[in-house]
Structure formats: C-alpha cells, structure tokens
Amino acid sequence: MLKNRIIPCLDVKNGRVVKGINFVDLKDAGDPVEQAKIYSDGGADEICFLDITASNENRDTIYEVVEKTSKKCFVPLTVGGGVRSVDDINKLLNCGADKVSINTAAVENSKVVVDSSKKFGSQCIVVAIDAKKKGNKWEVFTHGGRNNSGIDALEYAKKMEDSGAGELLVTSMDRDGTQVGYDIELMSKISSKVNIPLIASGGVGNLDHLVEGIKSGKASAVLAASIFHYGKYSVKEAKQYLESKGIPVRT
C-alpha cells in the first residue's frame, strides 16, 4: 500500500538554513546538509528546500547546497524558490535535486511546465501554488505571496496538471505561519479536481493538523516546517501519531 508522506521543509538563504531545526546540540544550525541528514535519518519521506535568497548575485549558492546534500541524503530532495526557466531546472537536477518546484514562473508562463516536464519527465516537476481565499474562491498569488494574479486556484491546478506537472504543492496564504491548521477546503477541492498527488502546506501547528490534511484534505503528502524545526514534534512522533489514526505511513 502506498504510504502518505511527511515532508519537512527548510528555508535556505544565501546557502544557509535560516528556518530549520533549532536544537541546542546542533553543531552548525545553518548547515543545510546536516539538517537534511537529521531529517532523513529521522524518517522524513522527502526533504524540501525552499530557497529564499533575495539577491540575484547569491542565487548560485543553492546549487552548491543541493550538490552537497544529495551526496549525503538518500531520500528524495525537492528544491524550489526562484526557479525561473528550464535552464534553472536543468541545473538543479544536475546538482542532484530529484524534483524542482516552480511557482511564479509557472503562473507567468505555463510553457515552462510544459517544456520541463517533456524534457525531464513529469516525475520531477512540482508546481507550487500559493492560494488565498477571496470571497468563495481562491486566487493564485506569486512572488512569495506578494502579488495577486487574480487567477482561480482550482482552474489553475487543473491547467498545471494538463501542462505536465507531476505533483502540486498547495500552500494556503491565509494559513501559512498561523499554526491553526491547513485550509482543508482548499486542499480537498484541488485534490478532487486533479488526478495527480497533492502536497498540503501552510498552517500546521499540531499533529492533528497533519491527520486532517490527509483525511479531509485528501493530500497524498503533508509538508510542515516549524513544528519539526523547533523540536515540538519529531518526524517519528508524527508518523506514530498518523499511524494511530489509521493513516498508512512508512515506519
């Protein structure tokens, strides 16, 4: 039976982890390789790096991070943030990323998704959708949530599936950082609309939220950051909890 996945996400800036595990005994809390290794040894099903490097001149730091991590970490590695073109995707894959997530570039030009999935296969193309509720629908935001594209998130999700995305990483802008739980309605609506797996993101504050994301949100995988980074829960505890609620996990 296919297991539901738990994916810790690390924010990386200028090649250093800025939002990640914050344990006292960590030798170098800023080292992405060390952090990824702790998670993969702890049972994380995948690792996600989100590159939040702002300036263009430091953009290349992520390639080095991916290259080093992929030599030590033998679970799938997804990398996103600032991915603009097929060439960016190519470079990340060559450095050892297993999947690349595309956000703003996919909204601006869906051809990036079409071309990259043709060239590298859908299995490595994740489209990240940042959505915010407006009235009774959700709209897609770009540029790290700063700009409203006005595009309907459900229609966009379907379009991305048709363009060749292998997975969707859906983040609720309303919930992100609030720790009150995923936007279940958004997740389940998108998941029911498409036939590709959905990764739920944004809003996790406790383990019941992960359960809801899978059971009610119909997500194949759940992504979380802070609940793991600050030692509130370990990935292992999360898995045990999910299992106790009847959710299949890899143990």
């Binding site: 099903d45 299995q123 292998g166």
Partner: protein
Amino acid sequence: MNVTIVDYKSGNISSVINSFKEVAENKVKIEVTSDISKIKSTDKVVLPGQGSFKSCMDALQSIKGLVDSLNEFVMNKKKPLLGICVGLQMFADVGYEESETKGLGWISGKVTKIDNQNGKYKLPHIGWNQINIVKGSKIFKDIKDKSHMYFVHSYEFVPTDKNSISATTDYSSKHVCAVEKENIFGTQFHPEKSDKTGLKIINNFINL
C-alpha cells in the same frame, strides 16, 4: 572492478551516481559514460532511465552502437546489468508511452499505463510503497519482505515470463516492481532514493 552507469543524456542521473559512489566508497570504480568501448570492457552496467519510455529509447538509439553494445554485454557476455525505473521498463519488447515504441526485448513483455480505475488512484504513483518479494533475488540479499521503497512512475512493466518477477507492489493492482532473469536485474522503484534499504540493494548489486 568497474561499475559503469550509462549516461545517455536522458533525465537526471545525479542521484544514481551519488548513491553508487556512496556505496562503492573507494573499493569499486564507478564510471559514468556513454563511451561504447568502456561499456564493452566493464564488469557491470547500470541503466538508469527517466522521462518517457519513448524518450529513453530514442536517447539510447541516438548514441551510435550503444544498443548493440548493451545487447552484447547482456545477451552474449551475460554480465550483470541493473535497470532502474524506465531502465527496467526498456527490457520489454514494447512500450506504449507517447506512442508504440520498440524496447530492448531482453525480457518479453510490454509497458502499459497503470490503471487508475477512473481516477480512484492518482498518477504518477509517487512515494513509498512496500515490496512483496516473490522470489529470492540476489539483489534482495538481507532485504526484508515488505520493505519500503521509493516509487515515481505512471507506467508498469507487464512481463509475459512470470518467472522473471522478483517483487511486486500494490497500487491499483499488484504490479511488477522488480525482475531478475539470469544476469539481468531491474527495479521499478528507485533504490538510490530509498534510504538505507535502497543503498543495500545497490551494495548487493555491486557485490554480485
């Protein structure tokens, strides 16, 4: 001993290279090449594969003499080869992804899309699933039945020769996820991304 990973410019093989180098340490030489003379003289070959069946077959054929050399290596010299993902699928006679495409024909059978039962099962089949070991394969030494492996695929290999099946997995139906026929080994899952258990399979292959 030399283990050669065939680099035929189709898809992303960095993870395969990294995992083999990790396991081999410095005891075994891991070579990454599409140079036919090197493939001819090596001890073991790894055939990765990402993207579609058609794009992988096209890419193999675009390198002059590569398919012939692989045939010679596998069918005449009977040296060990491990196919991963589409690398395994290409063992088939024919694949139906994009368009009907002739495969390498090493293990008779076809590659077809997984039946998603009208949307009940999402495709690609992505994530960790358990393998049912149906016969003792050399690459499964010390691997427990029901071990978790990482999968990413929408197509499955349906061999006519059922004796070649070494493991299956359950998704929509019971489908083939590993084969062994004499010197030919293949996994539909990605041992290079399957954590410690996956690395053990790679180690078993290296130590054959």
